[in-house]
Chain length 629, copies 2
């Protein structure tokens, strides 16, 4: 069949493809990861590219507007190669894939650190330097038993083993080093496996990675396992995005073995790039990295471990596994020590994964005397209520609004995002951006501020419509609905106005309604009043500047004493890090996963009523929000 | 470089080799396994081949006699290819590699079976058929946990796990089978690993192999793990023989990584051929075989697991490992279920391996109220003395004489071997051969009879010289020393006289002296008299017809009540089989290995004296053998 050459600019990547190949596939093959959140279905409009030379056959789409037509823009996924092509990629079609490195700190810094000392410092990987007595005819224990004997003196009561593949040359190693060696031990579910024996004392170099594998972003941290220090952090968008922005689209894609292989490869690429970046940044030898701990939702874990996800999305929504034995990291293609181990935090069920279990670990609810609540607002909202005696959990389909997705000017809490907003009576807007950069868009915490400000200043009605009667240059009719201008184009990095539209408000209203009603449903389930809670931990990808006052004002969070709230940031990552640094913590995650009773909200009789009642700012029943009135 | 084609007849194998390649290497490459026990050093003379066409450059050798020169025979290892060649291989240069299949029964049959019931029937691999309740919204446990839950009901208190690689498609397997599956569980050191989950009920098909990996022979048995039945047995010469007949030569060869790879490959070939032969004989699907248990001496285990053996032969003779965690059988190239597990019996030290530990298990010494003795006469002699409270063990460098090696007409106890001998006063010889075949040579048990008969009839003096003054057509001067004719050529399968020479007697005397003095040294060590022993188990590769009377008469075994002796055959294999059928037994091997105190005879002050005193028939101190006088 006829073949053509497609050149992508400005990357200057060329690829030879057959006639009829779509441009999204061509770009992926050429190593250019275009944005795409619908999986190439022509629905999200994120893969716009500009045809500079040559011919394509393209499907008409409502997502291509006048301006697009003028610049010859098309949807890559809906366009088929018909000749040699030169394609220009506008920066917004790639933007998702670039997160600046210092942003990682925003996502990982220490709000949670105060609990890190809750567990003994017993890292999953230990390096022990041994000076062994040399064997004699009278002390003729085998080389390996000589090592066991010495280790058992130090780590009493543990079951030691070694894979023969890791000790085949032990005889030489011992003798060439004068019986002075460093033994690397991996702790695995109560047993200890010797995974490496090196000459000399290398015990100082003991590194590990903690990862939060999110549907939208992947965050990794390099940790010194001896000192517990976080050496560095990196964040990247999940490379699975081109196969679907949401979990369901990806599951459908991954139900085919080839699709699953791609999804697995994408997230492993994420992990490898972060490991490589941090290793080269700190000039570290990656072969000293023997442990990775990953926390993520159940679907992400299935993709990471290349487990068929088909049945997750079919009633009754059963994952293949919720607990994961440690495996060789090389088995899934993670590039670090060839003897390294991958640990994954266990989950409860399809909707409560290791990310939430990590959050429960990091927040300490499982060990709390009083009733506490954890609300983790990621692409989904997970909620756990309980204490030392009991825990129940539920998941709310909040959608990705609070992570800045699916909104006209939404973005992650990264450099250039508006993260705080104040609206004056005059309707003047004051905002802060991350990195003090010119604004590029609005992140979750700012949307919450914005809704509060609009409500308070009657820019928005209680059911989420923009008050078009109020005269202001910031209130106007947009292409489809009314909108409120947060930043005018002269102020912005994009050269376009940054606005919030009625559709955005509708999305945010549903998201906050889903979360609030889920929280309420758990209290109803255990027959407790919201006022009985003594601590509320808010976790998630908002960035670090969520205003609890704003969140309560719009009816996202219950109207209780604000001092009971604590924002704990990325608690999934914190849970992974704590587990990496303490096998007690890792063992505790299993107890936690077993202890949480999952409540399926769709079968809770009152959930739908609660949800509908919550589709109002702050709530249909304003008695629930006395301090907001 | 110039290349030539070498054709080997009668196999008709052709191989292209470079000028200067030696013929032994060429034959190996062509897949023709010539005998060779010196490792190609020109010392053993076993690799004779006949040049039919073409030219070789060959080193002169004393091992090439007149007859050889007449037929154009050369040593393959000492001859270099100088042109295209046609090489004929005489059958004796291949004979070692053929053992007829029924011979395996001789090596494995049931002398030991009476102890097989000593352990609970808890095979290392279990197959459990489960009919699981289908999941619902209320019973939404993950697929794997659903299986765990059901198994935990049946196997209480065990730690269950599964490698993600074995359950990636579990979702489909469960749903396509209507949640009726067979779970294959491997028991590993107290933990249970799920290694396979298949649709439907396949629990009836559960097979395993037990192997005795000897320096000279490899014996395998196919076992039905459900019924404990031995379905079949096979024996083959250890394919490592071309790299050295004895352990030391092979260790030197294996100290180079490439050499080790070859030694490993050779024994794995042995195992694979036996597995394949038995599987095809019984028309079995090898993928149902999930377990292999191997017992062998420490060097054989190092080769099997491809562990550097270098330090075994250097003082203070330390092996890398003496205990072995179960590994995937595929890791060493064993061909059965790709998920199969290889278990190896633990040893005590370089000189007391898993074969002896298997013997202690099978004989029951470890559980005996009274003092018992185990004498395992293989290529080395291993001796264990003790009871439930204590055990000590030693190894004697007996050499391979009693296995029929290193003697002018020695052979293994296989088809055609003379296995029993009686010498009449007239010096007429009556003998029995294995398989009632024409004799090809003499095996260990017959040599013992022969020495006794020669001694009794004054054919041989007490120091092992042939009485040349006694007139008989059977006593004559051979090429180098005097010899006694056991079978004249008209009776034999080889068309040559079968004789015992003074050199053979010397070898046998040293062998029996080494074993007897080792036994005595252990009694001396624990300050006990030989008469205090209440049971003596004789194990080894003699075949099943060793005469205890003969063995005592020549001073190989102590002169005690003959009824205390019991011949238990291949107790290494029996130990492997018992471990395969009972995890209690396998666990016990570890206790046994730990419990045996190894006595290094070379550092025992009285051992050398005892040895020298034992170089006499039956002994220098005839008071030790009162019943023989």
């Amino acid at each position: 069949m006829e073949e053509f050459i497609v050149t992508f600019k400005p990357q200057d990547r060329k690829i030879r493809v057959k006639r009829g190949t779509d441009l999204l596939t061509a770009a992926l093959k050429a190593g250019v990861s275009l944005n795409s959140s619908c999986g190439g279905e022509g629905l999200c409009g994120k893969c716009k590219v500009i045809v500079k030379k040559g011919e394509v056959k393209t499907e008409p789409s409502k997502l291509i507007n006048e301006k697009d037509r003028a610049r010859n823009a098309i949807l890559a996924c809906e366009s088929i190669v018909e000749s040699d092509l030169e394609i220009a990629i506008p920066s917004e079609s790639l933007e998702l894939h670039k997160i600046e490195s210092h942003d990682a700190e925003e996502f990982s810094k220490g709000v949670i650190l105060k609990r890190e000392g809750a567990f003994r410092h017993l890292p999953l990987i230990e390096k022990i330097y041994l000076e062994l007595p040399e064997p004699t005819l009278d002390d003729n224990t085998s080389d390996l038993d000589r090592i066991y004997r010495e280790i058992e003196r130090r780590l009493e009561g543990l079951f030691l083993s070694a894979k023969v593949s890791n000790v085949r040359l032990l005889g030489d190693v011992l003798r060439e080093s004068g019986f002075k060696v460093t033994v690397t031990i991996a702790h695995k579910e109560g047993a200890c496996e010797i995974i490496a024996i090196e000459p000399g004392d290398t015990s100082k170099h003991n590194l590990g990675f903690a990862f939060d594998i999110g549907t939208t972003t992947v965050v990794g941290q390099l940790i010194d396992l001896n000192t517990k220090r976080i050496l560095g952090s990196k964040i990247a968008y999940n490379k699975q995005a081109p196969y679907g922005s949401d979990v369901i689209t990806r599951i459908i894609y991954g139900s085919d073995p080839k699709g699953l292989e791609k999804l697995n490869g994408a997230v492993v690429d994420n992990i490898n790039e972060i490991i490589e970046d941090l290793s080269s940044e700190f000039k570290l030898d990656m072969t000293n990295v023997h442990a990775v701990v990953c926390a993520g939702n159940m679907t992400m874990m299935h993709f990471l471990l290349e487990i068929d996800p088909t049945h997750i999305r079919k009633a009754p929504y059963i994952p293949t596994m919720t607990t994961f034995s440690p495996i060789h990291s090389s088995e899934v293609g993670i590039k670090m020590s060839p003897k390294g181990i991958l640990y994954c935090l266990p989950g409860v069920t399809t909707y409560i994964g290791g990310d939430t279990v990590g959050g429960v670990l990091a927040s300490g609810i499982f060990d709390s005397d009083e009733v506490a609540l954890l609300v983790d607002i990621g692409t989904n909202g997970e909620i756990v209520l309980g204490n030392r005696e009991w825990m129940i959990g539920a998941a709310a389909s909040a959608g990705p609004s609070f992570e800045g997705s699916g909104l006209s000017h939404g973005m992650k809490a990264v450099n250039g995002a508006i993260q705080k907003v104040k609206i004056a009576k005059s309707l003047d807007v004051e905002y802060e951006t991350i990195g003090e950069a010119k604004p590029k868009g609005i992140c979750g915490s700012a949307y919450i501020d914005l809704l509060r400000g609009m409500l308070k200043n009657s820019v928005m009605t209680k059911d989420g419509k923009i008050n078009s009667e109020r005269a202001s240059k910031r209130i106007r009719k947009g292409e489809l609905t009314y909108e409120f201008v947060v930043a005018f184009k002269k102020e912005t990095a994009t050269g376009e106005d940054i606005v919030i539209q009625e559709d955005d408000i509708e999305n945010l209203k549903r998201a906050k309604g889903a979360i609030y009603s889920a929280i309420l449903s758990l209290f109803i389930k255990v027959e407790k009043e919201v006022s009985e809670v003594k601590k509320v931990y808010i976790a998630g990808g908002f960035g670090n500047y969520i205003s609890i006052e704003s969140a309560v004002s719009i009816g996202l969070l219950p109207d209780i004493d604000r001092s009971l709230y604590e924002y704990i940031g990325n608690s999934s990552l914190a849970g992974a890090r704590m587990s990496l640094l303490s096998r007690d913590a890792l063992a505790k995650t299993k107890d936690i996963a077993r202890s949480i009773t999952y409540i399926d909200l769709s079968s809770e009789p009152r959930y739908m009523d609660e949800y509908v009642a919550a589709l109002f700012f702050p709530h249909t029943d304003s008695g629930r929000f006395p301090s907001v009135r």
